[in-house]
């Protein structure tokens, strides 16, 4: 669907995007992750034709092209910097934003009615946007980005402002859209949700790639693919964790509970020995690291993988 090849974008002396390359395949949910200022928004704005790259190439699949130009009506966009005309009625706003993407008004009205119904705000369609809660305004914003049924949609922080129930609803809808053939670029800070929904993930920092692949690939390739959760009766001697070459990191998650991350060339026997020396073990369990932990860890280590 999209090829992003050796793209560079500078602002004054700062390289927001630094020779970044990736590819988004048709019909997948592609998650673009990174800390604040990593270059996500700049990359997204270049894909959406809002700004031009200084160098590099962004090319689209023919399904979103009209001649040699990008057909904006085939793109959908939920920007991070978003808002709505507060003094305009909900349905009128949706129809206007949809008309800018070239939708047929009658069709758009039918679809908007169905979406508003699904989100439980159909009875408020004639009300002004300003009368809606922040969460409901987010729903309208989400509908506006996909109402015209784009081939390729970018959803930047789609979960922002939603409670857990509506976050799940958004995840379900994103999956349905993907299953219906839509390609989706997702950027979000809710790692648990991204982990469950993304087909492939790209983590960037300082405009460069840190990690990429499916979640399984990333987890298998990161330094900390395993951890132990150990509970003690009383306090543990943390200096033993810190001095061991087999333990890369230890985090106290409760007064008597620790998460122990292994070093690259760890020996499980040695790790267990240190744990026992550190205190009276009450319980011990293994756990896979989740995306949140990989995210944190990658940015601490600059995304180094097993050597």
């Amino acid at each position: 669907m999209l090829k992003f090849e050796n793209v560079v974008k500078k602002f004054a002396k700062v390289k927001a995007v630094d020779d970044l390359s990736f590819e988004i395949k048709k019909g997948e949910i592609f998650a673009l992750l990174g800390p604040n200022g990593a270059g996500k928004t700049s990359s997204i704005r270049m894909i959406m034709q809002i700004m031009e790259p200084d160098s590099g190439l962004i090319s689209f699949d023919s399904s979103v092209l009209l001649g040699s130009k990008v057909n904006r009506s085939k793109l959908g966009y939920l920007p991070e910097e978003r808002g709505l005309y507060q003094d305009a009625p909900i349905m009128k706003t949706l129809l206007y934003l949809s008309s800018l993407r070239g939708s047929d008004p009658a069709e758009a009205q039918k679809k908007a009615t169905a979406w508003l119904d699904r989100f439980g705000i159909l009875d408020r369609k004639a009300e002004k946007i300003s009368t809606l809660s922040k969460g409901n305004q987010q729903k309208v914003q989400f509908i506006a980005s996909i109402l015209h049924e784009p081939e390729f949609a970018i959803l930047d922080e789609p979960y922002s402002g939603f409670d857990p129930i509506n976050q799940e609803l958004i995840s379900d809808i994103i999956r349905e859209l993907r299953d219906g053939g839509m390609t989706i670029l997702l950027s979000a800070h809710q790692m648990q949700l991204v982990e469950n929904i993304a087909d492939r993930i790209l983590m960037i920092n300082h405009g460069k790639e840190l990690l990429s692949g499916t979640f399984e690939d990333i987890r298998n390739n990161t330094i900390s693919d395993k951890k132990l959760i150990v509970s003690y009766n009383g306090a543990a001697k943390k200096e033993l964790f810190e001095s061991s070459a087999h333990i890369r990191n230890s985090i106290q998650t409760a007064p008597e509970e620790w998460e122990i991350y292994f070093s690259e060339n760890y020996s499980l026997n040695e790790v267990l020995k240190i744990m026992i020396e550190a205190g009276t073990v009450k319980s011990l369990k293994t756990s896979d690291v989740n995306l949140h932990e990989i995210f944190i860890e990658s940015f601490k280590t600059g995304g180094r993988v097993h050597e």
């Binding site: 704005r45 959406m48 034709q49 809002i50 700004m51 904006r72 009506s73 793109l75 966009y77 939920l78 920007p79 910097e81 978003r82 808002g83 709505l84 005309y85 507060q86 003094d87 305009a88 206007y96 934003l97 008309s99 800018l100 993407r101 070239g102 914003q141 506006a144 980005s145």
Partner: protein, 397 residues
């Protein structure tokens, strides 16, 4: 209609309907009339109470004949037999408004509680009395004096042979006034529309859907449409009021209308329309650079398009000066100054053509410039472009 034109039309409709609502305008007019009526009634009551005919006691007449002290605006009473103490008591009690003591034909004193508006009438009355007295004293006939007082009639002739009719002059004045209304409307709505969109963070999703030039074109047309609607509405209301007044007074309105030159009317319309489009493009470009209208120093730039209207008033005094001739064709001022020149003096046939061509070209360049500024300025949050950057974009356009 191709896609781009359809999108421009969609934005135009949106901007127009977003800010313009007939029902609000009619409600506004009804409120205006209702409050005008209430104000008029209250004003009439206040005026009738405040401006009632004052009661003035004359304590001394001096050289004047008391029989002559009669006026519709002032009520005099002969109180020469009463003491000043008694008159002062009455003044304090409010039964008298003033005590007049005339010492001679050159000197008199009026005693009041405080300054009053009827003092002007009293001065005028005493002046007339004194004139009468002096005419008798110097034995001058009143008709002779009237002949001396009457000024010379100065007839005007112009090189151009004939002068524009008063109807055309009124038309030029009305055209400039209506342009001023449209300019103020454009100023208010472009400012609200664009800075509001920036502050409500609407920009990014719209700019990802359509080209910034398409968006700004729709905005300029929509806001211009609102300005023109107001012009037509208030112009129509004014016309209805004039017709009603004419019917009431029996003035020759039909004859006045017949004096209007249709060619001039068409020129005024073209100049006004192009001028409004150019100004709205300017407003749109500047508004896109403003991050916070409460603190931005660029808000002052929005006043620039009002200058030509001010220059037009200067043009009335000498429509043939070199400066006014040049400004009559200069695209940033011609829409306001050329109409004045057209009705005040002889204008070469090519001047309106040059003025319209330059104005149309400038409106087009401003449109492109606004699009460039809009494309970049609308995405700048928390920082405004410098004048240097704006000039750079202007040159690129």
């Amino acid at each position: 209609m191709n896609n781009q034109l359809r999108t421009v039309w969609n934005v135009t409709k949106w901007e127009y309907t977003r800010f313009f609502k007939w029902i609000d305008m009619i409600k506004g007019t009804v409120f205006f009339l209702a409050f005008g009526l209430i104000g008029g009634v209250i004003g009439f009551w206040v005026a009738s109470d405040t401006l009632s005919v004052p009661e003035i006691a004359i304590h001394q007449y001096g050289e004047f004949d008391k029989e002559n002290f009669q006026s519709k605006e002032l009520r005099f009473s002969d109180r020469t037999n009463d003491s000043m103490e008694l008159l002062l008591e009455e003044l304090q009690a409010g039964s008298l408004d003033g005590i007049l003591t005339i010492v001679s034909s050159d000197s008199a004193t009026i005693r009041m509680k405080s300054q009053r508006g009827w003092l002007l009438s009293l001065r005028q009355f005493l002046k007339e009395q004194r004139t009468e007295l002096k005419l008798q004293e110097f034995n001058i006939d009143a008709t002779v004096f009237a002949a001396i007082e009457e000024g010379m009639v100065l007839h005007t002739e112009f090189d151009r042979g004939s002068e524009s009719s008063s109807a055309d002059k009124w038309l030029a004045g009305i055209a400039i006034f209506l342009v001023l209304i449209a300019v103020f409307m454009g100023f208010a709505y472009q400012f609200t529309a664009i800075t509001g969109e920036k502050q409500q963070r609407i920009t990014e999703q719209v700019i990802s859907a359509i080209h910034p030039q398409t968006w700004i074109d729709g905005k300029i047309l929509g806001i211009t449409g609102i300005g023109l609607t107001y012009v037509v509405y208030y112009g129509g209301l004014g016309l209805i009021s004039v017709v009603a007044l004419v019917n009431f007074t029996g003035a020759p309105f039909g004859e006045a209308l017949a004096l209007i030159n249709p060619g001039l009317l068409l020129l005024f319309l073209i100049l006004s329309l192009l001028g409004i489009l150019m100004i709205n493009s300017f407003f749109a470009g500047i508004a896109a650079t403003i991050d916070d209208p409460n603190t931005s120093q660029k808000s002052g730039l929005m006043m620039i398009p009002l200058y030509p209207v001010l220059f037009a008033f200067v043009a009335i005094f000498n429509a043939d000066s070199t400066a006014i001739q040049i400004l009559g064709m200069f695209p940033l001022t011609s829409y306001a100054i050329l109409p004045v020149r057209l009705v005040m003096t002889q204008v070469a046939w090519w001047e309106p053509i040059v003025a319209i061509a330059l104005l149309a070209a400038t409106a087009w360049i401003f449109r492109l410039w606004a699009g460039k500024i809009f494309a970049t300025g609308m995405m700048m949050y928390g920082k405004e472009p410098t004048i240097k950057e704006m000039v750079h974009w202007f040159r690129r356009s």
